[in-house]
Subunit: 96 residues, 7 copies
């Protein structure tokens, strides 16, 4: 899964994991009660950030990585009917 | 499409994409209800930003690029009766 | 048009363009309803800003340039009965 | 005890120490009254932070260290049913 | 006009110009209605600011310069019964 | 007096001086009215702070120093039943 | 007049000048109406501040200097029954 968008600088595009549709005990969760997921798959990565001394710091995540990010990280964008999150690499906590 | 304005430093002038005039099902959307578009075409680019060590960091977008930007990014300006947005390159999320 | 004031550092003095006195259809606009113009002519330019590493970054606008600036940019000053705006060069968006 | 998550940059994953279940005099503390512990064990460490001049500053804590951190430090994450805290190394006060 | 005070770093001491005592048409303005002047004469200048790389950036104003400054710039001090303003050089807009 | 905790970076652990139990005239001060002391003894010192250029800036206080610090400086921690304050070295005003 | 306290970094200890006890016309001013003085004598000086590039910037005031400082500058400390102000050197405006 990859998208044709090219994020600028140290930005990353993430396809959020689908929210759980059922509780563990099998009860179906209505849309409004679904918890916003905090993990997703990286689908596009920018070229990196220009450091203060002019060198380019390459991102440390790659397309395909499963990542963990903050609850309010990023901005929602819609490309070809799909919802993605675009955020700075520093908003990503960890690679799973 | 290009304009004769020369943005300073790392500023970029963007012609916002026209807002949708109809919903998918064909209902005409009145002007006030139209969602402010978040994509547009770059029509002018500044020379770049001077880094802390004095070197010029060239912008990574070019005239003609279709770009994605934040909902509240930039300042509206009117040149020859046309509405544009002028923003810093760092307000641009991605190139489509 | 130039003034004998020498702005310090990266400051620029601008003579704002006169506000429109009439609407397009010819109605005269009273003084209080006139929109504050956002374009003007550069009448004096400072020597530039000293960068962190001690080098002088020369301004990129010159006396006589027609410029575009933000609605709330600068401070109003009065010199010899004339009203000017004094602002930092970074408050100028673009050269027309 | 270690987890398979790879924190980015200068982030650290910590398994908080279990909250006291009893007071010193033996009274069982209900869940809601338990004080949030401020010590825990480091279970994963990022590769370090890129300094302004581009060099990598290695973290000074290691997996297995018992650490002390601020009451509101970090973000809670759940991995394989276990609760962890993910925080920046600078949020850690001391190694016990 | 010069004072024996030695301002530290990039500070400057200014003797504000006397506020107008009469309107142009000759009406005497009471003390409370007098507009706080925004121009004055430099009476003492510090040695300059130490830049991030340790070099001294010399001030660009000199004792005797007539300067323009912001309405709320500086702190009022009283030396030998005289009122002065002490401000950073960056609070000065321009030399007249 | 020293503790076995190793503070990270430029952090310092301080054993606050005991609050006065009596007023000068001999009246016993109840616990709640005791003024929080602002002096104490350094019991542990971190290795120092990594400067922007990557060099380590050693702390200028040592274990055993009697120091003066701000009223609201630091975070209270309890180690082996003893109360300490952990703060950054920059929160310390002076060595007595 | 000097104290045995060693201020850290760019901190300075100042003995504030005594507040005026009488008005010019000889009326005695009660304690609560006395204006907090803004001048004093430097009684102790730190070793200086470590600049970003690791070099030590020596303070430019010395013990014995009469200085002028802001109304709300510094923190009050009491050493051997005497009241002093401890502040950063940058809070000092000028040497008298």
């Amino acid at each position: 899964m990859a998208v044709s968008i090219k994020p600028l600088a140290d930005r990353v595009i993430i396809a959020p994991a689908a929210a759980e549709e059922k509780t563990k005990s099998g009860i179906i969760i209505p849309d409004t009660a679904k918890e916003k997921p905090q993990r997703g798959e990286v689908v596009a990565v920018g070229e990196g950030k220009v450091a203060d001394n002019g060198t380019l710091v390459k991102p440390s995540v790659s397309v395909g990585d499963q990542v963990l990010y903050g609850k309010y990280a990023g901005t929602e964008i819609t490309v070809d009917g799909q919802d993605y999150l675009i955020m700075r690499e520093s908003d990503i906590f960890a690679i799973l």
